[in-house]
């Protein structure tokens, strides 16, 4: 049985539940998990129940990295650190918006921990509000498409680059749609001494508006269109990328999701899709995906 026990309250097709399971499958019992506030935290621990088969702590929304650094310091101080992995599993809002400062501090201090951002590109737990991870033109409840709006007007923040700038020894991107790759990277991150980071792309059927049976399919389309490049960085340098053989146009990824539906119905939508294609093209060039 997985260390993330069945019976939790995640949606059918939930990306967070997959991510949590893959992390624990990769790392095993000698792991302490810190969760900031978010879907994963809420649906796994409705008191008095808990889905966590490993020690787990949730404190607040914006402080998971600081809490994790305190756990690490305590284990070291008491001679209990040994090979125990300390892992944060947090959403994009907790990571890239409200918790950014605490992450910066924890990485600068060099704690031996792994931070995993499970990025479903909006505040899903509160009802699909935009975050700094929301991609260009996604319609969310606080960046809705409308008569004079194509949805979120801002570009997604490049979080892995921010972490790499903290001299992290290992930074990687992954996707729940590529489980073996993700688990390999999680394990590598946790086995690397120091503060390491894995940014996991996680399609949310509820927030992105697709059927819960398509989570993996949508995740794969993100990678196959180069909207989500898979790469590893060691000491700030890209050391490995997942190459694309037959890259697909971004329309295939966008069409699969309700949050981009307006781009195909609104006047001028085709022109705006070109701007999204340009993001994919930049990824291809920047990371050498082809």
């Amino acid at each position: 049985m997985s260390l993330l026990r069945p019976g939790h309250r995640g949606c059918a097709g939930c990306c967070d539940a997959l991510a949590g399971k893959f992390v624990l499958d990769a790392l095993g019992e000698d792991t302490i998990v810190v969760s900031p506030t978010g879907c994963l935290e809420v649906f796994t621990t409705p008191y008095p129940e808990s889905a966590w088969g490993v020690p787990w702590i949730h404190s607040l929304f914006e402080n998971a990295a600081a809490v994790a650094s305190g756990v690490e310091a305590a284990l070291k101080a008491m001679g209990r650190k040994n090979n125990t992995k300390i892992v944060v599993i947090g959403g994009d809002g907790a990571t890239m918006d409200i918790g950014l400062q605490a992450i910066s501090g924890a990485f600068e201090r060099g704690h031996d921990l792994t931070y995993i951002c499970v990025d479903n590109e909006a505040y899903m737990n509160t009802g699909i509000q935009r975050s700094s991870a929301t991609p260009l033109y996604a319609s969310t409840t606080t960046s809705p498409s409308g008569k004079v709006s194509f949805g979120n007007p801002l570009h997604k923040k490049n979080m892995p680059a921010i972490i790499a700038a903290h001299s992290s020894p290992y930074v990687a991107t992954a996707s729940v749609a590529y489980a073996p790759d993700m688990m390999k990277k999680i394990k590598k991150a946790a086995d690397t001494k120091g503060p390491t980071y894995v940014h996991v792309h996680a399609p949310c059927c509820t927030g992105w508006k697709f059927d819960g049976s398509k989570t993996i399919e949508v995740g794969r389309l993100a990678v196959e269109t180069a909207m989500w490049p898979l790469y590893e960085m060691e000491n700030g340098v890209v050391t490995n990328v997942r190459k694309l053989k037959n890259r697909k146009p971004v329309e295939e990824y966008l069409k699969a999701q309700g949050r981009f539906k307006h781009l195909f119905t609104m006047e001028g939508g085709a022109e705006e899709i070109k701007k999204i294609q340009a993001i994919a093209d930049w990824n291809v060039k920047h990371f050498g995906l082809e």
Binding site: T31, V42, P46, I57, L60, V67, G70, A73, A77, R109
Partner: protein
């Protein structure tokens, strides 16, 4: 045997007290006037005098957050902050007490912005009254230091498990040099047992901390915190007595009286102003005035029964507050004292004076002025609550 006294800064005495309590993790962020405490602790760590992880974090919010993680992992933890730093911690203070983590923190009391002001009042910790932390207020440097092991013993008790603030007035106590006895390691080892909590983050025995509670269970978490505070009421008294047995010093438990028993006029206060009040009372007593002091040491838990009992013979009660609830025109101690007398037979006027905000000095002449004003109650002149030390030219 006479104890050896040394002249040290208040902050050093506190830092030394922390050292002999052997915390596993210290996490702090610098802010005036707390800095000297954490600097001294950093030096102890740098000199290898402490076997602990000393964390220089990037904010007070992360300082308390790191200790939440460390305490949940089973560590004895310490931080110190003040004013804006304490306000920044606000959200996490609730979290620490809700998760029943016995973190100890020295709050070096300072005014809050705006206008920015680095000097002493007690608005900072008073404003955290409802966060579920024990709050004790120290009268002098020795008590500020001695409170540290006392609070570890109270907070870590299995029937308490609440975080606690040792409040000391900024600059007045943190930066003053006065003779103190530095806490002895051997006595502290005898007084304070090692911390061995039952519930910890341990991969051999996995547990979940910080679960999500819906309306069917949330209330009972709050109720149990309140019950733990009731246990703390007793433990504060017990531990003060145990401390006296081991170290030979006593400051009162929840409260302490000074020529109180026959006093018609009773002044109530918290913190370093107690010393000024005692000197004023000595002077007035020699002139035949019937004045006494009721020092409130524990603000949370609030010693309702002890205060009622101490005030039963008073003719007039004066409360001094270095804080204000703006919109109520009174300080927190005044409000608490009035509230705890209300459903009793004790019918005594309670007159509130707010003073000492933003570091304004409180001389003996001010205490005398306040006492004289309170005496006008006999003539039917009664002000419920007011600023005692307003500058007429600016007001």
């Amino acid at each position: 045997m006479r104890k050896r006294m040394v002249v040290v800064e208040g902050s050093y005495a506190v830092a030394h007290a922390v050292k002999v309590c052997k915390p596993n993790v210290i996490s702090a962020y610098p802010i005036t006037p707390q800095t000297h405490i954490v600097e001294d602790l950093a030096q102890f760590a740098a000199d290898g005098e402490m076997n602990c992880e000393y964390m220089n974090v990037e904010s007070e919010f992360s300082a308390i957050s790191a200790l939440i993680g460390a305490s949940a992992a089973g560590a004895r933890t310490y931080s110190s902050t003040t004013s804006q730093g304490l306000a920044l911690m606000h959200e996490a203070l609730f979290n620490a007490s809700g998760m029943r983590l016995p973190i100890i923190m020295t709050v070096v009391n300072r005014a809050l912005s705006a206008p920015i002001n680095i000097w002493n009042d007690q608005q900072d910790s008073i404003s955290q009254r409802d966060t579920g932390w024990i709050q004790l207020y120290a009268e002098d440097v020795q008590e500020s230091a001695d409170m540290v092991p006392q609070l570890y013993k109270i907070a870590e008790d299995a029937d308490v498990l609440l975080p606690a603030m040792a409040c000391m007035d900024g600059f007045i106590l943190s930066h003053v040099y006065e003779p103190v006895i530095l806490l002895e390691q051997n006595l502290t080892d005898e007084f304070l047992p090692a911390y061995s909590p039952e519930f910890v983050l341990d991969t051999k025995n996995p547990m979940s901390f910080g679960a999500f509670a819906d309306p069917s269970t949330y209330t009972e978490f709050r109720y149990k915190q309140e019950k733990a505070m009731e246990v703390a009421l007793k433990k504060i008294e017990e531990v003060a007595n145990e401390f006296r047995d081991v170290y030979g010093r006593y400051y009162g438990g929840l409260i302490d009286g000074y020529v109180l028993d026959d006093a018609e006029i009773v002044i109530m206060a918290m913190g370093s102003v107690i010393g000024t009040i005692k000197d004023t009372i000595d002077a007035l007593r020699s002139e035949g005035e019937s004045v006494g002091l009721l020092k409130v040491r524990s603000f949370r838990p609030f010693p309702v029964e002890a205060v009622r009992s101490a005030l039963k013979n008073a003719k007039v009660v004066i409360t001094l507050d270095k804080n204000i609830s703006i919109g109520k025109n009174e300080g927190a101690l005044c409000t608490e004292v009035k509230a705890c007398l209300h459903n009793t037979d004790i019918r005594v006027p309670v007159i509130g004076f707010m003073l000492g905000h933003g570091g304004r000095d409180i001389p003996m002449s001010m205490i005398k002025k306040i006492i004289n004003k309170a005496k006008l109650v006999d003539k039917g002149i009664f002000v419920e609550s007011e600023f005692a030390d307003l500058r007429e030219d600016l007001a």
